[in-house]
């Protein structure tokens, strides 16, 4: 009998986190959900057990509490096969422009915390010789835009970290996936103006994460349209780009 594969989802209470956990559980993974409020994750754990008859663990994890990361990884009952980091904070760009504390929180939530925890798991995976790390970054990291560059720059840092980690870890049997979802209809984007044809529902992202894990994809734009959109945005000359208000 082969033992079942296992995955941990960091940021398990987010819409994308729930979707990723469902996709993984459906594919037969035992899933652990990690988040700040473990009690709030209980209904999602019950949902995964009832739907897919898998084991579901719950763990307390705070992406801002980097000092606890080593103890967190050590406390897991077993080192999982797959780690998915969904954590992130959109924040409010206008506030972040003048409120350093808010800007710091956006940078730490989207860059520092996710990078450090995936880096830590990478060391354990490399020691073991296998494993998959998935970081949910953003198309906003492809180029800093006037309307959300604090968030975008943190995501850019996270994307660069994942890229470098991938290059290094692939030689040690560890795969790193960067996911750039584009617009997703979630709690985080509620109230934002999303462009219909460029917007997907959270389950689509969950399925894309599973597929990237299984096929060992490097960088995933959940909707292929975004690859094109960001190619155009990236290649606009700075002189033109700085005049755009978006």
């Amino acid at each position: 009998m082969t033992s079942r594969k296992s995955a941990i989802v960091l940021g398990g209470s987010s819409d994308i986190g729930r979707a990723a956990a469902r996709a993984l559980a459906k594919a037969g993974y035992d899933v652990a959900l990690a988040g700040r409020d473990v009690a709030a994750l209980e209904p999602d754990a019950a949902d995964l057990r009832a739907r897919y008859n898998v084991d579901v663990g719950l763990h307390k994890f705070d992406v801002l509490d980097t000092a606890s990361f080593e103890a967190f990884v050590d406390s897991l009952p077993a080192l999982p096969d797959v780690v998915v980091s969904i954590v992130g904070l959109l924040g409010v760009q206008q506030n972040a422009e003048s409120d350093l504390a808010h800007a710091t929180m956006i940078m730490r939530s989207n860059y520092e915390g996710p990078s450090l925890i995936l880096g830590l798991f990478a060391e354990r995976f490399l020691a073991r010789g296998n494993g998959t790390l998935v970081g949910v970054s953003s198309v906003a990291g492809d180029r800093g835009r006037a309307s959300n560059y604090v968030y975008g720059s943190a995501k850019a840092g996270f994307s660069a970290f994942l890229s470098g980690l991938r290059a290094r870890a692939s030689r040690g049997g560890v795969h790193v996936v960067t996911v750039k979802p584009g617009f997703v209809r979630t709690k985080m984007t509620e109230g934002m103006k999303l462009i219909g044809p460029l917007t997907v529902e959270a389950p689509v992202v969950g399925d894309a994460i599973l597929s990237a894990v299984e096929k060992k994809t490097d960088v995933v734009y959940v909707s292929g349209k975004w690859r094109l959109v960001m190619l155009i945005i990236r290649t606009l000359p700075e002189a033109v780009f700085k005049k755009l208000k978006f």
Binding site: A46, R51, Y52
Partner: protein
Amino acid sequence: MTLVSGWGRFPVVDSDVLRPRSFAAVGEAVSGGTVARGNGRAYGDAAIGTVRTVAMTAFDRVRSFDPATGRIRLEAGTLLSDLIETFGPRGFLPFVVPGTRFVSVGGAIAADVHGKNHHGEGGFGRYVDSILLRTGQGEVIEASREQNSDAFFATIGGMGLTGVILEATMRLRPAETGWIRERVISASDLDAAMRALEASDSATYSVAWIDCVARGRDLGRSLIYLGEHAQTDELAEGAAAFPAGKDPGLSVPIDLPSMTLNRYSIRAFNELYYRRGARRAGGSRVVSLYPYFFPLDSLKDWNRIYGKRGFLQHQCVIPQPNARDVLGDILERVARRGDASFLAVLKKLGQGDGILSFPLPGYTLALDFPVKGDILNFLDEIDRLVVAAGGRLYLAKDARQSRATFAAGYPALQRFNAIRKSLDPAGNIRSKLSQRLFDEV
């Protein structure tokens, strides 16, 4: 305010749409003029609050499932498509599915939806054991056949007007496979169609597609689709016990010009469809549950083929004794106009379970019409025939019937209103539909 409409895209009205993420937030969202909305597949104005609309699809968690009994407890925003994909491979399907799988459990309870098995197995509500309901006056109650039974039977088929359905416990059907053994019968006219449906009472599933533009001696010509759950040994060699549920591949990307559907294109389509079906008649074949139960789900956003003015579905039920004559009269008038759309459906129904449930023993006929010209007057004319025959219209499809038609068709209305009042004395729960048909003016 947001512009909101039902699946028929008529009427389009203003309502604030809220998306609560916790039951506590649902409670806070309910105040004067609120109704819950599932996946927005009611055709008319049933799931639009007079002031605000509480979107429930974020509540899609399964609480528990017992594979020994098929009993499931879930949040009301869970879609039937999700249940089918999740539990089908484990050998369980919903007992009752309507013509689309993209409806929420809460919506299916509120409309007490029926499927192709209603004549024998009843409607969706029959398989619901209990409901967690947030009433208009702010109580959260568990309602079942034993406990708060008035609230239970008013909520099944109650169009969301007893409160917000938060959770439900229901039974799923053990199903060895996700395949249906389908048999097609061709009927050359209405009499033959009704005879064939009468003779098919023992079939688990039966439904007739009726050609509503055929006239004269072809009036009411139909293809009758019977179905039984297929066992594993009936499947083709190598077929998976449960077919892959594909997302709709084709979609209608834009509103088609309203002239796309005209009497000529509809007539041509129906002629082809009938002939093709008639050639297959007699034999049987095993088909995936998806095309059998949900033929239109494969075309995403099919409601856009009627153009941006939307469409109306008229679905009536005529009690058994008068059914033949009245349906003949209705079809005659519809065929003379020639603008009713393809896929008109004729189906035998049994007894309904809820106080306001649509089904009653008789025949239901569902017709689609684009919104244009004198269609509203024409449908009023049809309604008079329905009322005279002791029939009624399906609220989940309705966008335009009159108060008088509604009151005549639903004699249990007074009892329903009394229960509704006891659950919601201040009248917090109100939809555009209730404003149009129920509420005191």
